[in-house]
């Protein structure tokens, strides 16, 4: 009797482990439209309304807990924001001068651009769920392919870049955040005019790295980092040029090769209620293509 129980227990354990390994192998081996991924998308579609309902119903509890945390952080945040405000005032003055020159130059080359994000056909979506693992930083939104959302389209909020669309079903989509370990986007340190690549640091959602910068010593703390946009007319980037990503908050290392540039994202990736998916991200590809 005891032997039978032991054998049964071991058989169940082995069967479950084998199932996991088969699933892992099959998942890695199949293409993006494979059967497992289709099942995953279908299941997401089925459970999404329940999740969205639960998200709305439980929002007061989330807000209550959030209020405690926000109160604790408020003082430190106020000091930081005051320093940032002073710095931004100076930048506004500089930018107003630059904007005047820019408008004048645009008129000269007869190139009209409506500015903002309207040209990229933004679709506003509600965030109803988010992952809890440091390795997979994703959120789920209530807009999908029926709203024009497609895989790899950029996702922004009022503060800056949030991520890109990872998976789409009919009425929902999973968005890979900037801090997901698989994320990467070509970027530009705006003031130093240095291109690079923004990569996450696994385990720190408030920290990104600006890597592969040709002249890293030109980049300074406080520089704004934006998306670089298209660099080749043959392969237009899915990210429009000039979407703010974050600011350089510290630079480690002295030499050119070991210099590590840390960027703090503008978007608070832990506190997202609404985001916008840019469904026509290449709308201004002509403008941003470098010759």
């Amino acid at each position: 009797m005891y032997d039978r129980q032991v054998r049964r227990r071991r058989a169940v354990l082995l069967a479950l482990v084998a199932c996991c390994l088969v699933l892992l192998t099959a998942y890695f081996g199949e293409s993006s439209g494979g059967p497992l991924k289709s099942i995953q998308t279908g299941a997401m579609e089925v459970v999404a309304p329940v999740q969205e309902g639960a998200n709305r119903a439980l929002k007061p509890f989330r807000d209550l807990f959030g209020w405690f945390g926000d109160t604790l952080d408020a003082k430190a945040e106020r000091d930081t924001l005051e320093a940032e405000r002073d710095s931004l005032r100076r930048q506004v003055a500089e930018l107003q001068v630059a904007k005047g020159e820019n408008d004048e130059l645009r008129d000269l080359v007869n190139y009209g651009r409506d500015g903002g994000l309207a040209a990229y056909k933004p679709v506003t979506a509600r965030v109803y769920s988010r992952s809890f693992s440091s390795w997979y930083e994703t959120i789920e939104i209530n807009k999908g392919s029926s709203d024009g959302v497609e895989v790899n389209q950029p996702v922004v909020n009022g503060k800056g870049l949030v991520g890109k669309v990872k998976t789409v079903s009919d009425g929902n989509a999973v968005v890979m955040l900037l801090s997901d370990s698989d994320f990467g986007v070509s970027a530009l340190a705006a003031k130093a005019r240095q291109p690079g690549t923004i990569l996450p640091v696994a385990g720190t959602s408030g920290d990104l790295l600006l890597e592969l910068v040709p002249e890293a010593r030109e980049v300074r703390t406080g520089d704004v980092v934006v998306t670089a946009g298209t660099v080749s007319s043959r392969l237009p980037s899915q990210f429009p040029r000039g979407i703010p990503i974050g600011t350089v908050n510290r630079i480690e290392g002295e030499g050119d090769l070991d210099r590590t540039i840390h960027v703090t994202p503008y978007a608070d990736l832990r506190d997202l209620d609404f985001v916008q998916v840019l469904t026509k991200p290449t709308a201004d590809a002509r403008a941003s293509t470098t010759p």
Binding site: L13, A26, A54, S129, S181, L199, A202, D207, R270
Partner: protein, 188 residues
């Protein structure tokens, strides 16, 4: 545990409600900079209450549910959680611990095992991004948070599964003493 359609239904309900609660609420509330993770706590509680087979199966199912909803690599979370559930279940079968704080220790151990196991599997599968040492801090903070939540989660699971469980060890031992079954005085 008594196995029938109702008990299995309740286990499934715990998994679905716990999973959705985790995704829609708990994961969006960061305390000490990290959100709590209910899944290893639920798996550890089910393992402790129902045994190793139930713990492993529940861990497998809950992991699959989470991986599916978050479009993650299928099988990864399942593998980690089924190990945690099996471990908690074996502890109950081998030691039958009676102390009231056992769920806290088991919940913390399950969270640590799940977090470290997940990290190891990620490294084995290859991580493109650099990994910060702050990840260790995140893991530690998650363990601390989960330790605080372990007892209420265990209590809820026990309440939901109570009709299908044998008496818990403390009550069993107390009854044995009062009825004279295990009392050393009864031998005199």
């Amino acid at each position: 545990m008594t196995w029938n359609a109702t008990s299995i239904g309740r286990l499934v309900a715990i998994g679905i409600v716990g999973g959705i609660l985790q995704l829609t609420t708990v994961s969006q509330v960061a305390i000490f900079g990290v959100p709590a993770d209910l899944s290893p706590l639920l798996v550890a509680a089910v393992g402790l209450l129902c045994g190793s087979i139930a713990g492993a199966s529940f861990g497998f199912g809950l992991g699959l549910f989470m991986d599916t909803l978050l479009a993650q690599t299928l099988g990864l979370t399942s593998l980690v959680l089924l190990t945690a559930g099996y471990g908690a279940g074996r502890l109950r079968e081998l030691r039958d611990p009676a102390h009231g704080l056992v769920p806290v220790a088991v919940g913390a151990a399950a969270t640590a095992a799940a977090a470290i196991g997940f990290a190891v599997l990620q490294f084995l599968l290859g991580v493109d991004a650099p990994v910060s040492l702050l990840l260790l801090r995140q893991i530690l903070m998650t363990i601390v948070l989960n330790t605080l939540l372990a007892l209420p989660v265990y209590a809820v699971c026990r309440r939901v599964l109570a009709p299908f469980l044998p008496d818990d060890p403390r009550r069993r031992r107390r009854r044995a003493y009062t009825t004279g079954g295990l009392s050393p005085l009864s031998r005199v």
